[in-house]
Amino acid sequence: MFIPGIESNPVRLKLPYRGLALIILALALVPAQAMAQRCGWGGTSTVPAPEFTFLRAVNEDLRAPTRLATDSNGNIYIADPGSGKMVQKNRFGLTDLVIPGLGTPSAIAVDASGFVFIADADSGSVNVYDSSWALLFQLGRGNGEFTNPNDIAIDPDTATNTIYVSDGAENLVKVYDLNGAWKFNFDGSSGPDTLSFNFPSAVHVSGAGQVIVGDQNNDRVQVFDRQGVFQYCFGSKYGPGSFKLRFGRILGITTDSLDRIYVADGFQGEVQVFDANGIPLATIGGFGSEPGQLRTPMGLSLDRFNRLWIASVNNSRAEVFGIDTYQDPVYIPPQDDDSDDDSDGSSDDNDSSDHNSGHGSDDNSEDSSNDQSNDDSDDDSDDDSGSPQDTGSGNRPPSDSGSDSGSGSGSGSGSDSEDDLDPDSSTGHDSDHGSGSGSDTGPDRGSDSGTDAGSGYGSDSDDDSEDDSDDDSN
């Protein structure tokens, strides 16, 4: 509005009038109820931002992967509704098993006993399979129990015996026990009021027992206790400061051991990381198709090696990032040396545990942390000899109780990285540090003081695999 008599800046709308216009606009555009509740954010965090390292993209056998889950053995189960299949990959990212004919698998989770829960959007059901893929039962009434089951979360505290299913079309999170009996739902009506979902698109139960729900059309993350009692929320499309969307489309949620919350934003092609109070920490990825970039990221899962798996639907791949201190079992193909390290009478090249895809090692051959068996045919200090073999190279499920880690040595040390679900971020190296012969596999990051084997990253100073060529007794 032009104010006569005011000389300075006659072309600029005076601040109060501009502000008034903004307010009127805001009020007109924003439904009244939204102003009633604003999820707070802001403040300083007490946990560090995660360090993340792009490891690889996994695309084999995937068409449109939307959701994924990981189990205690390091397997990854990927729901691919683009092909109607479940693709099971091992820790190396190599396909172990494909289950076709699952209709439109829209969500997946694995419980502690290895039962797999898969939602089928076609029949509106969540079906439960045992480890031999026999169908055991369905949640609730079976077919038609759900309208749009788009995420499943199992409470990591097995004593609670609880599983949560978000149903976007019904604006509910439905809660069942692990035998399929319905317990309760929370939330009912759509709309931006407290506790009311508008298209819940993701659900996850953190280690601390918080049930975290992605409330997509309200552009916010809501946190509940196990009984569905609202605790707090963060993010809002009408949030303070600007009209810029914090979230484009919340499509997936997971948490880590520091209770940091990872939110997949399928619109902006990134995974946003917050502390448990909703204070933003970091952004992983970015829109695109180059390595490390994301297109429509949805499913999120942190595996036992502290690697974040992201289902990137429209790149037809899963992206893998190492978080803070992580392990990255890497498959190294067997060297063609015809040695028979496991004394089974034939060349190791023919051993059935040989993984037959191109990149990785057979557990009967050496990983790079040890003498390569081709380096030295008389050096028989193969870690694999005599010790329980790591079946992780492709058999499923790898029941590693022995001394060998995925591609690692197992040179007699008792501790096994397989059992190590939580990387020791405090000491900076893996707790399976063995008896001096490079027992740690994969790339230990950060301040790794121990002997680090495998493809140790730059911060590993000792006994790096790259140095191993000097170790050959030849």
Partner: protein, 715 residues
């Protein structure tokens, strides 16, 4: 005077206050909790038109994904069509949906094993005639400007490439020919391009940028996007499906699929695929926009939709999304034979070309056509072996398509199978002989709708003149002695003809009727081979209306009177001769060879199965007249006791006269097939040439021949 943002704010405020914001039609409206800010952000928008992220498709896909808000209508990148024709060997077709990132510069995909960080984008518009894939291979690693590449053209099934079709140095806008260029961009690691990495650029002809302004303004750098074809805000424009709900104003119209422009007649398709918007197959693509013809060869489809005017449309055969076959063709019916026969009734159930148990497939062009071999066993015995519905370049003239939507031209198409592989016999070899039906002499004159009779000005012969490719059946074997005319069955099934009365018949009943198309009443026939006393070039008249005749259309005049004593090998006076008894391959089954039966070609003149020397004088040998002696006993004829003419030996062996000098092998106005060759036989003084027959074994001649005069010489 006022800053634009202030004006914008004022307008928006006014609109907001009056609640007249842009009306959104369902489903992209409040019925699904969609508001303006669901997709638009007012400040620092990284995407065009104030959208939240770059990439139109990404915006749509954030809801159109399984588990998302539009879970029932997902669109994922892997759904985009990648049809199989001309894909390099080893790559398989896929795709349930029309692409939403396509353009006239084709689509490029990186090989899954690539590790290069750099990217390649194609630009321009493909102007070549063929569907094809360029394989681009990095030969020298490096960044853009340093790395080098080779490229190859390979059609599926044509085998390994023999050498690069071109080379170049990476850069921006590196020309590839045919209107295309490659644009290389560095990645985040160096070298951006790794040696051995491969990209595939797949192009099809007949695509242009859209001209409709609403579509043209919504192209992302000459590439299609979702919003090019779909209006995310409005359902107003008319869809193809006539059963879709009507538009009743703002806020209505769910189920009309958000058309960007009216599409009831396939207008969207016809904009970019304008070269295929033709109303006749002679213009190089299956016609659209016309009614199904009312004729015996067509029917109205029951499994395919016609457009709102009752005409065939692109969308009659194609459906752009959620195609069940996942092969990139987007066909409503994926079995080709079922699809074509919805409207075309040409296919006869017993015809060889539609015999599914024979399981033949097009083996790949060999005589000029580039149409690749068909390997999909679902296409055996289907129209797709010979026809390509959108026209295939004519190898002789690649800027046009082979007519009739065929994949090769006239006899070349037939030869591709009928050269001994995969067809059992080698018909093509017959046409390389010295005496042939001259299929190679004419091109583009034959028309399937031509009348039964073939006249001058359009005189021609092609395979299809004798063989109806849609009705021809397996060979019924060589002709032999018979008491009725050889029917037009087997490979002659379904061909038109001229009957013995001279009337055209739509389907010939007898073999001779097919021959009469060109050798009977046709004008413009070539001159007779022998100059005769009673000349006649109309074989129909010869066999139906002469005094003496080889019995082709009717039984002979000597039936039952014992006047043809020389007949052997099963031939009798009441036998009927077929054209192919005499005119046939010299190594066909009747001649004791392994070649095909039929009057295709012969090493003997006049397309005769056996030798028939006509020159005079010719020292006698039985072999010279093998054509006659296959039915007539030489010993009997040369015997002085022959009760038809005891002087044969004197003439044939004594005077070295050929049979043809006195006899007309077809017919004569005179008796006994006597029709003198007037280049040998001349007038006897002023008495002319004549032959009078009295009774078997008795007659008289008046003529002069070999210097000998006969004046009423009787025998």
């Amino acid at each position: 005077m006022f800053k634009k943002t202030n004006i914008l704010l004022m307008i928006l405020t006014a609109l907001a206050l009056t609640n007249q914001a842009l009306a959104l039609d369902p489903p992209h409206n409040s019925s699904n909790s969609i508001e303006c800010v669901t997709c638009h952000t007012l400040h620092s928008a990284p995407g065009g038109t104030l959208t939240a992220v770059a990439g139109n498709a990404n915006l749509c896909q954030s809801c159109h994904v399984v588990g998302g808000t539009a879970t029932g209508k997902p669109f994922v990148e892997a759904d985009q069509a990648r049809p199989g024709l001309a894909l390099p060997a080893g790559m398989s077709a896929s795709g349930t949906s029309h692409r939403w990132d396509a353009g006239p510069q084709g689509r490029i995909e990186a090989d899954g094993a690539n590790t290069s960080a750099g990217t390649i984008v194609s630009s321009g518009a493909f102007t070549g005639p063929n569907i094809q894939t360029y394989t681009i291979l990095i030969t020298l690693p490096g960044d853009t400007g340093v790395a080098e590449f080779e490229w190859y053209l390979e059609l599926k099934g044509s085998g390994a490439p023999t050498g690069p079709d071109g080379t170049g140095i990476t850069g921006t806008s590196v020309p590839l020919g045919d209107g295309l260029a490659l644009n290389f961009s560095d990645g985040i690691t160096s070298p951006s391009f790794v040696a051995g990495d491969t990209w595939y650029l797949y192009v099809i002809p007949d695509i242009v940028l859209p001209t409709d302004p609403e579509m043209a303004v919504r192209m992302e750098g000459d590439v299609l996007m979702c919003s090019t074809c779909h209006d995310q805000h409005s359902q107003k424009m008319t869809p193809f499906d006539p059963t879709a709900p009507a538009y009743a104003g703002a806020g209505t119209g769910q189920g009309r699929h958000n058309q960007r422009i009216d599409n009831d007649l396939g207008q969207k398709c016809k904009d970019c695929h304008s070269a295929r918007d033709v109303n006749s197959s002679s213009l190089g693509s299956h016609p659209v926009g016309i009614a199904i013809p009312v004729s015996g060869d067509f029917q109205s489809p029951t499994g395919l939709p016609l457009d709102a005017s009752g005409n065939i449309s692109c969308l009659t055969c194609h459906d752009p999304h959620y195609n069940g076959a996942d092969n990139g063709l987007l066909l409503r019916i994926n079995d080709i034979q079922t699809l074509c026969t919805e409207c075309h009734t040409l296919a006869s159930g017993v015809a060889s070309h539609f015999n599914t148990s024979a399981a033949e497939m097009w083996p790949g062009g060999q005589y000029g056509s580039s149409y690749p071999a068909i390997t999909d066993t679902g296409k055996t015995a289907s129209c797709a072996n010979c026809h390509y519905p959108h026209g295939w370049p004519d190898s002789a003239n690649p800027t046009t398509d082979s007519p009739l939507l065929a994949v090769d031209f006239e006899e070349s198409q037939c030869y591709t199978c009928h050269d001994g592989n995969p067809a059992a016999t080698d018909i093509r070899a017959e046409f390389q002989k010295t005496s042939v039906h001259p299929v190679a002499a004419t091109a583009a004159i034959h028309s399937p709708g031509e009348g039964a009779i073939v006249n001058s000005g359009t005189r021609h012969i092609e395979c299809a003149d004798c063989h109806n490719p849609h009705e021809a059946e397996v060979s019924v074997g060589a002709p032999g002695p018979s008491t009725s005319p050889r029917p037009a069955n087997g490979p002659l099934t379904g061909t038109a003809g001229i009957n013995a009365a001279g009337s055209p018949v739509a389907t010939a009943a007898f073999e001779y009727e097919v021959c009469f198309r060109c050798h009977a009443d046709s004008t413009g026939k070539p001159a007779a081979l022998t100059q005769r006393l009673y000349p006649e070039t109309n074989v129909r008249v010869e066999f139906t209306n002469k005094t003496s005749y080889h019995p082709v259309t009717k039984t002979g005049a000597n039936t039952g009177n014992g006047d043809v004593p020389s007949l052997i090998n099963g031939w009798a006076e009441n036998s009927i001769v077929s054209c192919t008894n005499c005119h046939n391959s010299d190594n066909g089954p009747a001649a004791g060879g392994g070649g095909p039966n039929g009057a295709h070609g012969s090493s003997w003149p006049n397309l005769l199965e056996r030798r028939y020397v006509t020159s005079d004088p010719s020292t006698y040998s039985a072999a010279k007249y093998a054509s006659c002696f296959s039915c007539h006993d030489a010993a009997n004829i040369l015997s002085d006791d022959n009760n038809s003419f005891g002087e044969h030996d004197k003439h044939i062996r004594g005077e070295d006269a050929a049979c043809n000098v006195c006899h007309d092998p077809h017919a004569s106005d005179n008796d006994r097939l006597i029709n003198f060759d007037t280049s040998v036989v001349s007038s006897s003084g002023g008495m002319g040439i004549s032959f009078n027959w009295n009774s078997p074994g008795s007659g008289s001649c008046t003529l002069s021949c070999h210097g000998k005069r006969h004046k009423n010489k009787s025998y």
